[in-house]
């Protein structure tokens, strides 16, 4: 229905930047996820778009129009807040037709829209119930029906699945996407759950400390993170500090602090530079006993965590550093705690990043 653009939005609370030069382009009908840890400024961004908070600088465009001078009620944006905030003194029906009523549409139209929305979210049989009588999933659907009944062009969802049980959360996320995609509404969905973001988005914006860290489709975000934070926050990764020692046309050689040699495809870094090598735990292999060679790390198994389909194995290296490996459970059963193992980084799966100014630890901080 409409595209949207945020240009250089900044908002400060005291010394904290809730938004720090935040840019975002959303295409017509696109389902965009803003993914970031708690306190990243996600809610702030949504409220600025909705007009509930005034940004310190920057502009919000809906379609081609800058809406900064419009009050929230005229922006044609529906915001679904974190706790749904269904009006407690209204029942399902009254909640649903709130927007049509305040717009003063005629009663027939209100009736039609209300029924259409409630049928869509399967709540037609609960029209008389008050929010306190509804389950979490019903509340979420009622709030969605209320938001959609407002005829909004843009839908903002602030952690819409957070308050639900794990099982329901997974079911509902596909339903949510299907509903709004069918209606063709431009949607921004905010979450701190990387799995949720990866499974439902057309486009993911990874956000930290008020800034955009990376924008891309789920595949790009997962497979080609452009910085340490994204690699770490989306999925799970191992990081090692290294120095580049040799570079040729087909490979690059590096050495870590304990003298291990690591080889990767050549990348745009100079010899002698200190960099960080990263790899997703999914792409990290493990073998029993000591295996010589490059890209290998000898260590002892510290812990094995069962994740259902996968096991996550924590390996402690001689110098005390810990690496993580994620392998299918069927293979994982062969490993036991305290076993001597070798962790292997696949050379073609390695990411190489600049050494961060403030050190690796600081860069991995989530909040």
């Amino acid at each position: 229905m409409v595209n949207m653009r945020l240009s250089n939005i900044t908002k400060k609370y005291g010394k904290i930047f809730a938004a720090d030069g935040f840019n975002l382009d959303v295409e017509d009908g696109e389902y965009v996820t803003i993914l970031g840890p708690t306190g990243a400024g996600k809610t702030t961004i949504l409220k600025i778009i909705a007009g509930l908070i005034d940004q310190d600088s920057g502009e919000v465009y809906i379609g081609e129009r800058c809406v900064d001078d419009l009050p929230p009620e005229n922006r044609e944006i529906a915001l679904l807040t974190q706790g749904y905030s269904l009006f407690p003194h209204m029942n399902v029906w009254e909640n649903t037709i709130f927007a049509p009523t305040v717009h003063g549409w005629n009663e027939k139209k209100i009736e039609v829209i209300g029924k259409e929305m409630l049928n869509m979210v399967r709540l037609m049989d609960r029209v008389d119930a008050y929010p306190r009588e509804l389950s979490g999933g019903m509340k979420q659907r009622n709030a969605l029906a209320r938001a959609l009944a407002s005829n909004a062009k843009v839908l903002l969802l602030d952690e819409p699945l957070r308050a639900l049980d794990a099982r329901l959360r997974i079911d509902l996320r596909y339903e949510l996407r299907r509903l709004v995609k069918d209606l063709g509404i431009t949607t921004i969905h905010v979450t701190h759950d990387q799995e949720e973001a990866l499974t439902i988005s057309d486009k993911i914006v990874v956000m930290r400390k008020g800034k955009v860290e990376q924008v891309g489709n789920p595949y790009e975000i997962f497979e080609r993170p452009t910085n340490i934070f994204v690699a770490h926050f989306v999925g799970e990764a191992n990081f090692v500090e290294v120095v580049i020692t040799k570079k040729s046309s087909d490979k690059m050689e590096m050495i870590d602090r304990s003298g291990r040699t690591i080889i990767s495809k050549p990348q745009d870094f100079d010899v002698g530079k200190k960099v960080i090598v990263g790899i997703k735990t999914e792409h990290t292999a493990i073998e029993k006993g000591e295996k010589p060679g490059t890209n290998t790390f000898l260590g002892k198994i510290q812990r094995i965590m069962f994740l259902g389909k996968y096991v996550s194995i924590e390996v402690k290296l001689e110098e005390g550093k810990k690496l993580h490996v994620k392998i299918p459970t069927s293979i994982g059963t062969a490993f036991k705690e305290n076993m001597l193992v070798t962790v292997i980084f696949a050379p073609d799966r390695l990411f190489i990043f600049d050494y961060p100014e403030k050190g690796l630890e600081k860069e991995l901080e989530v909040e």
């Binding site: 909705a50 509930l52 009050p71 922006r75 905030s85 407690p88 305040v102």
Partner: protein, 645 residues
């Protein structure tokens, strides 16, 4: 429908809302805050007069005389001379009084080294009558019956000491009352929150009943129950125990301040209860920490509220105190009673204004200082509370002490609060119907009171709710904070001082507005406005702003958000605020007397019946009618708001 649409369109504009907020602040500043403390400006502008007339070594004299009842009355003349056996001339005339019911006056600025002589003359259409002569030597001889007007023995006091004496009594009483309220209130609050027993609901209701009884009626009722009452036939059950004015006032003030203390403490105990449970559920072992970090600050907050409410109420009370003292036949006065009495006289003798101003200033300043001090002491000084708190808890929960405690609490409530409040029924049921003065005056005063109470409740709601919204939801946190603090000022300034200050403000700055009815309305708005704002602001603080934000994004304009979302959520608090404002206005005497001696509201009428006419039986009946009518009004308000839901 069209109008509401226009309004909501108007308020959708930011500039319109900004203008409206500015108006609300302007209203508060000009109609509530400034008039309340205007008298302080006297320190700057008229300090000279205060220091020569009040703070110098001068005396004041109280004169009272027998009433002239013939229809040809024109005016009383008060004459003063420095020679004995003087003749009434232009030069001896101090001032005139054109109301034959006003048979009491005060003269000030008398040098202690001079002997003054006084006479009262009565101007009638045909002749001039004069009274016997009295003087300031302390010698008084009962005049021979040949005098038609008898001037009674004058009371001479040093003005400054009189003022300090009255103020001291006020503060002393307020402090004692607050301490007793706390000691007796804690176990009561405890029982209400933590104990389950049969009839708890009745207990709960009974506790608030004195709040709905106008204090003038309470004063009469309590005095009849406790005091030695010369000239009144004691009804059966009367204790006839107290003859000390101090003790009587203390007992009276406990009656109407006790419920405030219990409510404040109970509200906090309730929250502590919840917090204990949450702490117990979520983090088991850290109960102690929770108690230290949550319970104590909360408890302190409740204590501050309770102390300030009780102290301010006691310091401010006028009508009930006046009635109780008159019933006892005592000449003792508290600060507000002094202001009320003098203000009545000052209508004819403007020389009293500096003394009135000085008394009000001291009262206001001390009240403000006390507010700050109590806040600091209770929030900053941590030591005693930490220790005191767990002790009553342990003490009250085991073996014999709790039973004794419950018994004590029950007896206290029954004999100190409830029976004295409603003892008046026993009096009216058993007293001999006396000759009556006629009921016309009472009905019109009752109408007047209701008119004022209704108007101020409407004004309070219309302008108090927006103020609460501005304080809690306003863009500027700082402004909200400042307003929140300033709102409390009229609440703790004793109403008699407030009334005097406000009357001075309007009559000197905007004299065209100072009709008695308008002045009374302004005065009652000033001290009831904070009640509505406080209640609504409290409720708003507890409702999450997210509902309002959601409504906005769904397309509701600010006025629609208010009507459809905010209002239904805060309705109970609005009701509570409205009831408080209405009943406080209905029962108020001090501010009414101090702002305009001509405005006769129902409580003022009752005070007059007792003080000026000794019409006790009729006063008793009038009290009962007033109590009944204010109960009905409360029920009606409740009904209306329930229905509107």
């Amino acid at each position: 429908m069209k109008l509401t649409k226009k309004l909501s369109d108007l308020f959708a504009k930011r500039s319109a809302r900004r203008g409206w907020n500015a108006f609300i602040i302007f209203f508060f500043a000009l109609f509530v805050l400034l008039p309340t403390i205007y008298v302080l400006s006297y320190i700057v502008t008229d300090w000279g007069v205060i220091s020569t007339d009040v703070l110098s070594d001068t005396n004041s004299v109280d004169l009272s005389w027998s009433e002239y009842t013939e229809a040809d009355f024109l005016e009383y003349e008060v004459h003063k001379s420095t020679v004995s056996n003087f003749n009434l001339t232009e030069t001896t005339l101090a001032f005139e009084i054109d109301n034959n019911k006003t048979t009491h006056t005060v003269l000030m600025g008398l040098s202690p080294s001079t002997i003054y002589y006084f006479k009262i003359g009565v101007n009638t259409s045909s002749r001039i009558i004069h009274s016997n002569e009295v003087n300031t030597t302390g010698y008084y001889e009962t005049p021979p019956p040949s005098f038609e007007i008898i001037l009674y023995e004058p009371i001479v006091t040093k003005t400054e000491s009189l003022i300090y004496h009255c103020l001291w009594i006020s503060f002393e009483i307020a402090a004692i009352v607050t301490i007793i309220d706390f000691i007796a209130g804690l176990p009561m609050a405890w029982m209400l929150v933590r104990k389950e027993f049969r009839g708890k609901r009745f207990f709960d209701t009974f506790l608030d009943m004195p709040l709905a009884v106008p204090t003038a009626a309470l004063g009469f009722s309590t005095a009849l129950f406790w005091a030695v009452t010369p000239g009144i036939l004691s009804p059966p059950g009367s204790l006839n125990l107290l003859s000390s004015p101090m003790l009587l006032i203390i007992v009276l003030h406990i009656v109407f301040s006790y419920p405030y203390m219990v409510r404040s403490l109970a509200a906090i105990l309730q929250e502590i209860d919840i917090n204990y449970e949450i702490a117990g559920e979520t983090c088991g072992a850290s109960r102690l920490t929770a108690a230290r970090t949550i319970t104590l600050p909360l408890f302190r907050a409740g204590l501050v509220t309770g102390i300030i409410l009780c102290f301010a109420r006691s310091l401010s009370e006028t009508g009930g105190t006046m009635v109780a003292l008159a019933t006892l036949g005592s000449m003792e006065k508290t600060g507000p009673v002094l202001i009320g009495t003098w203000k009545h006289v000052a209508k004819y003798n403007p020389n009293l204004v500096p003394a009135l101003a000085f008394t009000s200033i001291v009262l206001i300043l001390l009240a403000l200082v006390l507010l700050v001090m109590v806040k600091i002491i209770v929030t900053k000084v941590k030591l005693p509370l930490k220790k005191v708190w767990p002790r009553p808890e342990k003490f009250l929960s085991k073996g014999l002490p709790p039973k004794l405690g419950n018994l004590f609490t029950f007896i206290f409530l029954l004999f100190i609060v409830l029976i004295p409040s409603f003892f008046i029924f026993s009096y009216v049921a058993t007293a001999e119907p006396a000759t009556e003065i006629g009921w016309g005056g009472f009905w019109s005063s009752l109408y007047y009171s209701f008119l004022v109470a209704t108007i101020i409740t409407v004004i309070d709601l219309a302008l108090g709710i927006p103020m609460a919204i501005l304080i809690v939801r306003g863009k500027s946190k700082k402004l909200g904070h400042v307003l929140d603090t300033l709102i409390n000022v009229p609440l703790i300034v004793p109403t008699a001082a407030l009334g005097f200050s406000l009357g001075l403000f309007w009559s000197t700055q905007f004299s065209f507005l100072s009709s008695p009815l308008l002045l009374i309305i302004f005065a009652h708005v000033a001290f009831t406005y904070p009640l509505v704002v406080r209640n609504v602001a409290g409720a708003l603080e507890e409702t999450d702003v997210v509902y309002e934000e959601t409504a906005r994004t769904l397309g509701a304009k600010p006025i629609q958000v208010f009507r459809k979302v905010m209002l239904p959520m805060i309705r109970p608090s609005i009701l509570a605020g409205a009831i408080m404002a209405f009943t406080r206005s209905l029962g108020e005497t001090g501010a009414t007397l101090a702002v305009s001696p001509e405005a006769i509201t129902a409580p003022v009428y009752i005070v007059r019946l007792i003080k000026d006419h000794q019409a006790y039986y009729q006063a008793g009946l009038a009290c009962i009618i007033l109590i009944a009518v204010s109960y009905c009004a409360m029920l009606l308000l409740r009904y209306i708001t329930k229905k509107a839901r």
